[in-house]
Amino acid sequence: MKRRIPMLIVSITGILMTIQYFIPHPWSEAMYNNALDWLVIIGIFAMPLGIYSMIRIQVLKIQRRSRGWGYAVISLISLFAMLGLGYTQECLESGTFFMKIFEFIYIPIQATMFSLLAFYIASAAYRAFRARNILATIVLAGAIIVMLGRIPIGEAISPFLPDLAAWIMTVPNMAAQRAIMIGLGLGAASTAMKIVLGIERSYMGME
């Protein structure tokens, strides 16, 4: 029973929503709107679950004095401080303390994390981007052309470079991307079908 009822719900909902997509009738639209409301309601339950899970993990770390438990203390303090400060909607307006923390601490931290990529890419390019064989050489040449073609100095070197870079993006790149997308799409459709038909059960913690 524990297995059959959830599987039955998933199968019926999956089949109904698939059929609904092709029926432009007010009843079908009403059912779709109801389903959307249900999705929002169910989704909201995930939020307190996530917060509880985070608090539990951090508290356990502190209790066990695990490696880096000090960071767990900072995480909890930050969580409750931001929750407290952000409790009122007005806090999101410019000039408030909440916004100052966001603007002058959170944004620079996030931007710094992302900008570190430039340093790692430069280091990786120097150490690992090698023309070891024909395929690697093609990738290397393509990367150099695109890098040059995407900057103004590339245009100054040769007006042909941006066109070549554009060709690489719109022909070989697009062909590869399209193949990946079609593969992903077919994979997603078949997985969805397996879930609806009850063949794929790993989402319920089953084999």
């Binding site: 410019s94 959170y106 931007a111 900008s115 430069a122 995407r150 991307q177």
Partner: protein, 290 residues
């Protein structure tokens, strides 16, 4: 690896291959910082994918409603920020009515800053010329629900004003009332806009994404699922080039064009590093090393 006294006696190729990575970091830092000291206005060639976004917006009649989804977060602010600013300036310049929203959990405050700062440049009135809806979680559901009615997910705007009391929203209910959707962001949210908004409700869609995400959307551009693509800082610089007179009139620095100067240096540095690394690799290989 650190340079040891022994390593200084190694052949040049070996020394190059074992260079301390902190030198590379230093070069990157210098390449990123030095260009900011020089004010250079570079010419940026405008690509057809950016031009089509500009042309689409430019042809809309004043008062046409348009949806700007600022779904980016602080991580990609350097690229998506100038894109959003340029797009919003173009929309306000043409007196379009803009609905701004975000589906990024870190984007609510940033989109609010964007809407208030750019609207102030054009003396636009909130509720009449533009609306800021704020952030709602579960992007897939929100995008789908807008297809039915904005009011399902957004009964009120960011400032808690009910949508029915906002004059601009009087005759705007769903995608069919909009000229198009311009989405700024990348990743799963962009895919959700493609599948849930464009494919299901056939709303014209254009996207502005980071340079890393850009290549994967050329297929959707060619298939006509999106009518335009602004990729990375280069795309933002192209848009600013198209709005150059407007930026001059406002006396505002074109941030993306300025940033292209930095990209010039960093790209050249990465190309040089790659070439030097390969040269050292081949010399070493010829000498019989691995």
């Amino acid at each position: 690896m650190m340079n040891t006294p022994e390593s200084t006696h190694l052949p040049l190729a070996d020394r190059l291959l074992t260079i301390d990575r902190r030198f590379i970091y230093l070069f990157v830092m210098l390449a990123a910082v030095i260009p900011f000291m020089f004010k250079v206005e570079l010419d940026v060639e405008v690509t057809p994918e950016v031009m089509s976004v500009y042309s689409f917006i430019d042809k809309l009649k004043p008062g046409t409603p348009i949806l700007l989804a600022a779904d980016y977060d602080p991580q990609t602010q350097a690229e998506n920020g100038p894109q959003a600013e340029a797009l919003l300036r173009h929309m306000f310049k043409n007196n379009l009515r803009v609905i701004i929203m975000t589906l990024s959990q870190d984007g609510a405050a940033m989109a609010e800053m964007l809407s208030t700062s750019i609207s102030a440049e054009y003396n636009k009135i909130r509720g009449e010329d533009y609306v800021y809806l704020g952030y709602k979680p579960y992007f897939g559901i929100i995008i789908l629900s807008i297809g039915q009615n904005f009011r399902i997910s957004y009964p009120a705007d960011f400032y808690d004003t009910p949508l029915d009391e906002i004059p601009m929203m009087k005759n705007i209910h769903n995608y069919s009332d909009l000229a198009c959707v311009i989405q700024i962001g990348g990743g799963n949210v962009t895919h959700a806009w493609l599948t849930n908004a464009h494919e299901r409700y056939k709303v014209p869609l254009a996207i502005a994404v980071t340079a890393v995400s850009g290549p994967q959307y050329y297929a959707t551009l060619q298939s006509g699922q999106i009518f335009g693509l602004i990729g990375g800082l280069k795309g933002a610089a192209e848009y600013e080039t198209l709005l150059r007179d407007e930026y001059r009139r406002l006396g505002i620095i074109a941030r993306a064009i300025q940033g292209m100067n930095v990209q010039n240096f960093v790209h050249i540095l990465i190309i040089l590093l790659t070439l030097v690394g390969n040269a050292a690799f081949f010399v070493k290989k010829r000498q019989g090393g691995r």
